[in-house]
């Protein structure tokens, strides 16, 4: 397929997935803010979230101080950057529009409809409302898009590039959301630990799955195992990297072997990793390493596939 088309499809997948990641990160913070605690620790939680999502510089530029209210508005509705949910949906729609002939009509209509509804949300009104409504809407539209994609698109290169974009973004998102939680979570009692880690599981739609898998109470090691190393958690880093590797094997060309190898290497790290070796203090460094490796793979995808290739096949 055209390199430009692949580029748009890749980014369409990334932006849709990123909107969902941001919604889930918002969800974590929103649920935490409902727990008994002072506004300072709420603000501290937002600071870690913004930092971990890479949004802190842009936030500071726009609003300065991190308080307990602005960050949510910024992450959800900021009109001026592609970093907010609003911005991601806009960018996703622009990418979809650029390749509306290469994706299915249903995918385009779903993306366009999502964007038209996103424009309808009034940030000022939303301030008065339960943010859960907006968060659920974003998750729903992202899931809808994923369903339409899987349900209508030919299993061709375009499908694989979408898969590559979505899974790379998801691996990155899960690592960052967990990273933010590690940064904020303090020791505390078992009860406060339960709530602190429970909200994360709820926000990742993994609470019930956790209950099915583990008999023990909600403890950081097991939450981390579920979100990082398990293959049966659809949002885990391992699962997402596995998808990324599969997608890269489908789109492989003459120059992409090294990229494929690096994705496979990361997958192996996750596949053969043991949570006992990553107890909480080493987990943080491990997640950072994952994010760095994903960034490297993203750069390699760009140069292997998405920029002009002039060699004649």
């Amino acid at each position: 397929m055209l390199s430009r088309t692949a580029d748009h499809v890749y980014w369409l997948g990334r932006y849709v997935e990123r909107a969902e990641t941001l919604a889930r990160a918002l969800d974590v913070q929103y649920r935490l803010s409902l727990l008994p605690q002072g506004p300072q620790s709420v603000a501290a939680g937002w600071l870690d979230t913004l930092d971990e999502l890479g949004l802190l510089p842009a936030y500071r530029e726009r609003h300065g101080e991190v308080d307990s209210e602005q960050p949510a508005q910024f992450i959800a509705f900021d009109r001026h950057s592609t970093l907010s949910i609003y911005g991601c949906l806009k960018a996703a729609r622009e990418n979809a529009r650029a390749v509306r002939g290469a994706i299915t009509s249903e995918m385009w209509e779903t993306m366009n409809g999502t964007w038209l509804e996103a424009r309808g949300f009034d940030p000022q009104q939303q301030r008065q409302r339960d943010p859960g409504e907006f968060i659920d809407w974003v998750k729903h539209r992202s899931q809808l898009f994923r369903g339409v994609w899987r349900g209508t698109m030919l299993r061709d290169e375009g499908f694989a590039f979408m898969r590559v974009g979505m899974s790379l973004e998801r691996a990155d998102g899960t690592a960052r959301i967990l990273g933010a939680r590690l940064a904020t979570a303090s020791g505390g009692t078992a009860v406060s630990g339960y709530y602190q880690w429970g909200v994360l599981l709820h926000a990742m739609s993994m609470f019930e799955n956790y209950r099915k898998l583990f008999r023990e109470a909600v403890v950081p090691e097991r939450v981390a195992e579920l979100l990082v190393l398990r293959d049966d958690d659809p949002r885990s880093v391992r699962r997402a990297v596995g998808d990324l590797y599969t997608g890269l094997r489908v789109v492989a060309n003459q120059q992409s072997r090294e990229t494929e190898r690096r994705a496979g290497e990361l997958e192996a790290m996750l596949r053969f990793g043991r949570i006992e070796a990553l107890v909480v203090d080493r987990l943080r460094a491990f997640l950072d390493d994952c994010v760095v490796r994903l960034r490297d793979i993203d750069r390699r995808i760009t140069s292997d596939f998405l920029v002009a290739i002039e060699s004649v096949a």
Binding site: M1, R4, T5, R97, W108, E157
Partner: protein
């Protein structure tokens, strides 16, 4: 005013024309509220489907709907047969003309078309002189604008032979009507149009350079900020071909390639939706970032087919239009079936004098204008506007032509006040390959403001579904 115009639905004494009878009865059974609700439903659907166009001169990314009218325009089979024969004849002659201009130039030597009107015309591309094109086809796709003045009395207003647009609206308007009013299609036997992309892709494949069994066809668009981008994406998708921008293509050793994730891939046919001027910065406008450097060279070498052919614009120039009936006689030895609008060529002193004395009754057009811009509609213009135009004409008479103000026919249209007649035209799409094919109907454009004669979407025009009724 109203009675001066031919009404598509009703005769002068208020009787319903027979081909509109069933529609008229159906419309009378529906309430205005329900029709308004259906129209709003259509608008919402068009928005959701993203059937929108970008507006020139407004903020990047501004998208608007082309207003869609829910009352279809109906043509009986007998009238369509006449139009079909007339269009086929006309496009055959126009193709022959372009081939002649870039070949032996017999029509110029015979003195039928003045040589200076061609050879000094900005649309004449000397680069194309003596370059053979596959099948001798230049205008693969023509969108001929037709207006009606009376029963069976059709005039060709313009032959759009460069990058005519609007066919996606023909297809989407039909799809919308079937979705909104399925019962109407059981009351009428409407000739289908949905196969247009199929005919088009077969045609494009048939004009590939010789020796290519399975040609790679692409649609070249200026990109997603172009006003017709929706149509480009739509057609590429319907035909299953790549939608490419200039940056996606490159030329090496006189062959055209596209940049893909698996390396370069040969391109054999380019269905371009970019004007000649922007097609190849090495040959035409050097600042164009939309085109493909070297495309003309590859084309001249016969390694790629460009549709429509480079240089085809010479045949739809407004200063050449007056000679089309003569072309039909010259190349086909036939009498023209469709009328030309009588046209004064202001380059000629006596025509110019006549026009200047009658500006308030005439329509004056810029020879190179398009989209309803740069024209004067005398009867609707103020004295000041007329005087301003007089000055412009006197300064550069060769830039203008003039025509009588045509009594465009009117068709009932659902507007704020209910059903009311509004002026319309018709753009059928004529496809030339091994033979000439026209899907029945075309795009009907409607001027929505009361009394307006300007149907262009850039000037507030809307569209209607166009029904050709089948016999029996």
């Amino acid at each position: 005013m109203g009675s001066m115009f031919y009404n598509e639905m009703y005769t002068g004494d208020g009787a319903v024309r027979s081909h509109y009878a069933a529609l008229d009865q159906w419309l009378k059974r529906q309430s205005s509220d329900w029709l308004a609700q259906k129209r709003d439903e259509a608008d919402a659907l068009f928005h959701r489907l993203g059937i929108t166009f970008a507006v020139y001169g407004e903020e990047q990314g501004t998208e608007r709907l082309i207003p869609f009218d829910i009352v279809p325009r109906v043509l009986p089979a007998s009238e369509w047969r006449l139009l079909e024969a007339g269009l086929t004849q006309r496009v055959r002659a126009l193709n022959a003309f372009v081939g002649d201009v870039y070949g032996a130039q017999q029509i110029l030597r015979a003195g039928i078309v003045p040589a200076e009107a061609i050879l000094t015309n900005a649309q004449y591309r000397p680069e194309m002189q003596d370059v053979p094109v596959p099948g001798g086809t230049y205008a693969h796709i023509a969108g001929v604008d037709i207006v009606r003045a009376g029963p069976g009395e059709f005039y060709v207003l313009e032959d759009n032979l460069r990058v005519p647009s609007g066919v996606s609206y023909m297809l989407e308007d039909r799809r919308m009507m079937m979705r909104l009013f399925p019962e109407l299609f059981s009351l009428h036997s409407v000739a289908p149009v949905e196969h247009y992309p199929e005919v088009l892709i077969n045609n494009l494949r048939s004009v590939a350079p010789a020796g290519i069994d399975d040609p790679a066809v692409v649609l070249l668009t200026p990109g997603r900020y172009n006003s017709a981008y929706f149509e480009h994406a739509f057609l590429a998708q319907q035909m299953g071909i790549e939608l490419v921008e200039g940056q996606d293509l490159f030329v090496r050793d006189d062959y055209v390639y596209m940049r893909t994730t698996r390396g370069a891939q040969r391109v054999d046919v380019v269905y371009r939706r970019i004007d000649d001027d922007f097609l190849d910065p090495l040959a035409f406008r050097p600042e164009s970032a939309l085109g493909v450097p070297g495309l003309l060279t590859a084309y001249r070498a016969g390694h790629v087919t460009v549709a429509n052919a480079i240089g085809t614009g010479i045949a739809d120039d407004k200063s050449v239009y007056p000679y089309v009936p003569e072309m039909i006689r010259f190349y086909l030895s036939e009498q023209p079936i469709l009328n030309n609008v009588p046209t004064w060529i202001l380059r000629r002193p006596q025509d110019c004098a006549h026009v200047l004395a009658n500006l308030s009754q005439l329509v004056v057009k810029e020879v190179h204008g398009a989209g309803g811009y740069g024209m004067l509609i005398g009867p609707a213009a103020s004295t000041a506007q007329i005087e301003e135009f007089r000055g412009r004409i006197q300064a550069n008479p060769e830039r203008y032509i003039a025509q009588p103000t045509l009594a465009l026919s009117a068709c009932p249209t659902f507007v704020e006040s209910g059903l009311a007649p509004r002026h319309i035209d018709l753009r059928p799409f004529v496809l030339s390959g091994r033979d000439i094919q026209i899907v029945p109907g075309g795009l009907t454009r409607v001027a929505l403001p009361e009394g307006s004669l300007v149907v262009n979407s850039s000037q507030g025009g809307g569209t209607k579904d166009t029904w050709v009724l089948e016999d029996g």
